[in-house]
């Protein structure tokens, strides 16, 4: 049986892992390789590296650290941020990343998803979706969330965009629920379950993890394939070995070897 995945997300800025509060006031958490190795040793199933300055600065991801990570770790990893074209994705994949994740550029030009899937196969193509519930009760997509000054609310419904992204060739969806992100009060189960119902490919929950119980809840109640988090892993509030032990006790299949 396929295991549910635990995915630490590492925000990369100028070659270092940082953590910001609401995308501001970044604090350096450590060197990329040291943190990648730490999470690998603790039993992370996959890593996501998000180059938080590539996209706002309009430059491609720095290939050099991707190569270093690829040589060092023996679990899969995905690179997000700054990928706007097949050529950008090819650089990152050739440097050793297993998957690329696109978000705002795919909203600007949805055909980017088709192009990436045709060039590399759907299994390489992750679409990140930033979503927030509007006053009328609908979940809608946000764009350029990496830069608070540029963030835009789109008229596009989250459920419609997920279905379109999958039909264009997304092999995995990462749903970042902005309403719960940073609050550490749990994943947005309602929204994730609604997206799950329209998402036939793997779905990764993001935004809101604050305690071990939140991971148990999101796997049991939203049937997601993976749960992504950053600060609770960086701070040590949720140690991955303890998390996996508790998930296993709750009857959730996780990798333990």
């Amino acid at each position: 049986m396929l295991s549910r995945r635990i995915i630490p997300c590492l925000d990369v800025r100028e070659g270092r892992v940082v953590k910001g509060v609401r995308f501001r006031d970044h604090v350096v958490m450590g060197e990329i390789e040291a943190l990648a190795l730490r999470y690998r040793d603790e039993g992370a199933d996959e890593l996501v590296f998000y180059d938080i300055t590539a996209s706002p600065e309009g430059r491609p991801v720095d290939r050099e650290w991707v190569e270093r990570v690829a040589r060092l770790i023996d679990i899969p990893f995905c690179v997000a941020g700054g990928i706007r074209s097949v050529a950008d994705a090819a650089r990152v994949l050739e440097a050793g990343a297993d998957k690329v994740s696109v978000n705002s550029p795919a909203l600007e030009r949805p055909a980017l998803i088709d192009e990436l899937a045709a060039a590399f196969g759907v299994q390489c193509v992750v679409v990140g979706v930033d979503s927030l519930r509007d006053a009328d009760g609908e979940w809608r997509v946000r764009q350029y969330t990496g830069d608070p000054g540029r963030t835009r609310a789109l008229p596009r419904r989250t459920l419609d965009w997920v279905a379109e992204a999958v039909s264009r060739g997304a092999g995995e969806i990462v749903l970042n629920c902005m309403g719960s992100d940073g609050a550490r009060e749990g994943y947005d189960i309602d929204q994730l379950a609604a997206v799950r119902a329209v998402c036939p490919v793997p779905l990764v929950a993001s935004g809101g993890a604050g305690a071990i119980d939140h991971f148990t809840e999101v796997f049991q109640n939203a049937d997601v394939d993976a749960a992504l988090a950053a600060s609770v892993f960086h701070s040590g509030a949720v140690p991955i070995p303890e998390l996996k032990r508790r998930l296993r006790e709750a009857g959730i299949e996780v990798r333990d070897d």
Binding site: D74, G96, D225
Partner: protein, 205 residues
């Protein structure tokens, strides 16, 4: 298990995949250099040959036809390991684009069926179940019941050459071997200690 790197000359066949770097890095962690080549004399001189592959069967087969490896590979006599799409190319045909493959293993590659709770692509860590009849095969020593990393939408449902199967809704062939021709549907280069063991097992042949 200890490997003697001085006795191993490994070559990665150029199938145009994007994971060549990852596979090279996995062998480097075992102390083994893994140059990429499509040069016949260099490939013939190797002790072990690996056929990596990411993406789709069609473009990968086209690459092998362009560089002549489609004719060279069937004539090789040393241990050959296909990885992911590289394994699929070893079979007769793939439903992905309806392409003819190398035909070194009997069977057809099919799309994995979706079902409630069974998502395609099959993406993540899943258990290798070694067939009792294959328990003595050197390629699968230490792998039974352990989890490897998979990311694929196509696979072979069943094969007389299966050494290990995996379940995603239905069983499919995870590791196969017929003589010197071997394949792994999982990605050993991204399967932590389990993957390293699989690669070391291959190099010990």
């Amino acid at each position: 298990m200890s490997l003697d790197p001085s006795r191993i000359r490994l070559v990665l066949l150029d199938s145009g995949g994007n994971n060549l770097g990852s596979v090279q890095a996995a062998f480097a962690r075992l102390g083994i250099e893994a140059p990429v080549s499509s040069d016949a004399s260099r490939i013939r001189a190797a002790t072990h040959v690996v056929l990596p592959g990411v993406g789709a069967a069609g473009p990968a087969m086209q690459r092998l036809r362009e560089n002549g490896l489609d004719r060279l590979i069937p004539t090789l006599s040393q241990p050959l390991l296909g990885i992911c799409v590289g394994m699929q190319l070893l079979f007769e045909q793939s439903a992905e684009g309806d392409v003819d493959c190398l035909g070194l293993l009997p069977g057809r590659v099919e799309r994995l069926p979706e079902a409630p709770g069974i998502r395609v692509p099959h993406m993540g860590w899943n258990r290798l179940e070694v067939a009792p009849s294959a328990a003595g095969h050197p390629l699968v020593q230490g792998l039974d019941g352990r989890r490897a990393y998979f990311v694929h939408s196509f696979a072979v449902r069943g094969s007389a050459d299966a050494l290990a199967t995996c379940h995603h809704g239905q069983p499919f062939v995870a590791i196969a071997a017929r003589g010197r021709v071997m394949g792994a549907q999982c990605h050993p280069e991204r399967s932590a200690a389990v993957g390293a063991r699989l690669l070391a097992n291959f190099l010990s042949l």
